[in-house]
Symmetry: C2
Subunit: 227 residues, 2 copies
DNA sequence: CAAATATTTCGGCTATCATCGAAATATGAA
DNA sequence: TTCATATTTCGATGATAGCCGAAATATTTG
């Protein structure tokens, strides 16, 4: 008896370098136009259109039209999870320029993993919340403690709203660069949104890396004792 | 800036149904001959040979020759990890026969995940060991407690030898069927070997499902309070 | 209204991959 | 030594996927 043949279908989404590139770019959680994605993947808009249609059909991405622009983003976090998993095993790309080195460092330090914070900062923040008694590990998830609920509500997160969502609440996501877990799920999403709203972090242009602002450095230090 | 283009290379290993099927079969941790794998994948031995050569070259499988037979197995657990991850997201195959239903149940109940125990039993055993204070979760791994070291040594596992191995010691592996973690790493491997040695479990013919023996049912009940 | 821009569609091309029949090679059994 | 089995190699074939130029369509701008 063989295996689940749908595995090959999922893998085929990612085995084509152009598609893999575009999907990894979409891990930044932003909308991207078709033309932008074409440039990122190094293909013509016609070829990009071909791939995007395929991914739309397979419900991997969603699209919003705004005038003549088509804005694409990841449909949900499932493909992000597979991407992180493949990134765990794929050899790192060779770094042969200072620019690539800096980009690699930035991505490793802090990035969005579709809709939550990943990288060194994401993992560090998660582990700090465990130490502070906000979260505690529970199987493939984190459990939010009572104290944690109070803490995060005071921090400005609508915990109840996050809990009500149908998706997983506080899932562990294996970070490909740190090889440890960061917080995902609707709570991870809410936390990321709050960090942006507070301007503690901001997105870098054309990258899924995020940068900690001066405000953020103060905030992480004062609220989470992270520096 | 795009992503890591090596992701597509890894995914391309699994996007071809024949290869994906063979690799999933190898998750049972056994050796399989080239002809067996051809049958499993529903292709001719020539085609199987073509794919196996490719996977040998990419160091995904290893081969041992014994007379005219060629015995293949997974090189290490990395591709197993990607497979489990893809199985988390891939739609389940439709079950349209009683035989398939039984096979699916067996796989879900207990199976080898290349070199450690997975499925409901694998997860349950892992969670029980956490409750018993043998293991405790620690990031992407489990930490073995002092009591746990004593317990497992008394159970007949050479814990020190497992610790000395260069691979990860007690890694969390996300179980695609339970969506929770089971124990992987060299400790997970040693535990699986012990369960086989005690004849608490045995492999089913032509499947990566494993069956609990009567001896095993007693053993799990008496030693781990699992029933 | 014309020009510019973004995107899609169409048709065709090319490269590559998976397949297998036939044959060759390697090993074991009678 | 011959025959049988397992596996690999070779060469050919067909399918398909990704690509893009040209053109069409949709929307915005001047």
């Amino acid at each position: 008896m063989g295996g689940n043949s749908n595995v090959a279908d999922v893998a085929s989404l990612l085995c084509e370098p152009s598609r893999a590139n575009m999907l990894q770019s979409l891990l930044d959680g932003r909308f991207h136009t078709a033309t932008e994605l074409a440039v990122i993947a190094g293909i013509t808009p016609q070829t990009a259109s071909y791939h995007l249609s395929l991914m739309l059909e397979l419900k991997v991405v969603t699209v919003k039209k705004n005038g003549r622009h088509r804005y694409y983003q990841l449909a949900d976090g499932q493909i992000a999870q597979v991407l992180e998993s493949l990134l765990c095993i794929a050899p790192s790309e060779k770094i042969n320029s200072l620019k690539k080195f800096n980009q690699n460092q930035a991505i490793r330090f802090a990035r969005t993993c579709y809709d939550h914070l990943a990288g060194k900062l994401g993992v560090h923040l998660t582990e700090t919340m465990v130490k502070m008694g906000i979260l505690h590990p529970s199987g493939a998830d984190f459990a939010l403690t009572e104290e944690g609920k109070i803490f995060l509500t005071n921090f400005g997160i609508d915990v109840l709203r996050a809990q009500k969502k149908r998706r997983s609440f506080a899932r562990c996501c294996l970070d490909w660069s740190e090889r440890r877990y960061h917080l995902a799920g609707s709570l991870g999403h809410a936390l990321l949104e709050k960090l942006f709203a507070l301007s503690w972090i901001e997105q870098l242009p054309e990258s899924r890396a995020v940068k900690v602002t001066e405000t953020g450095a103060e905030g992480f230090k004062n609220v989470f004792a992270i520096q």
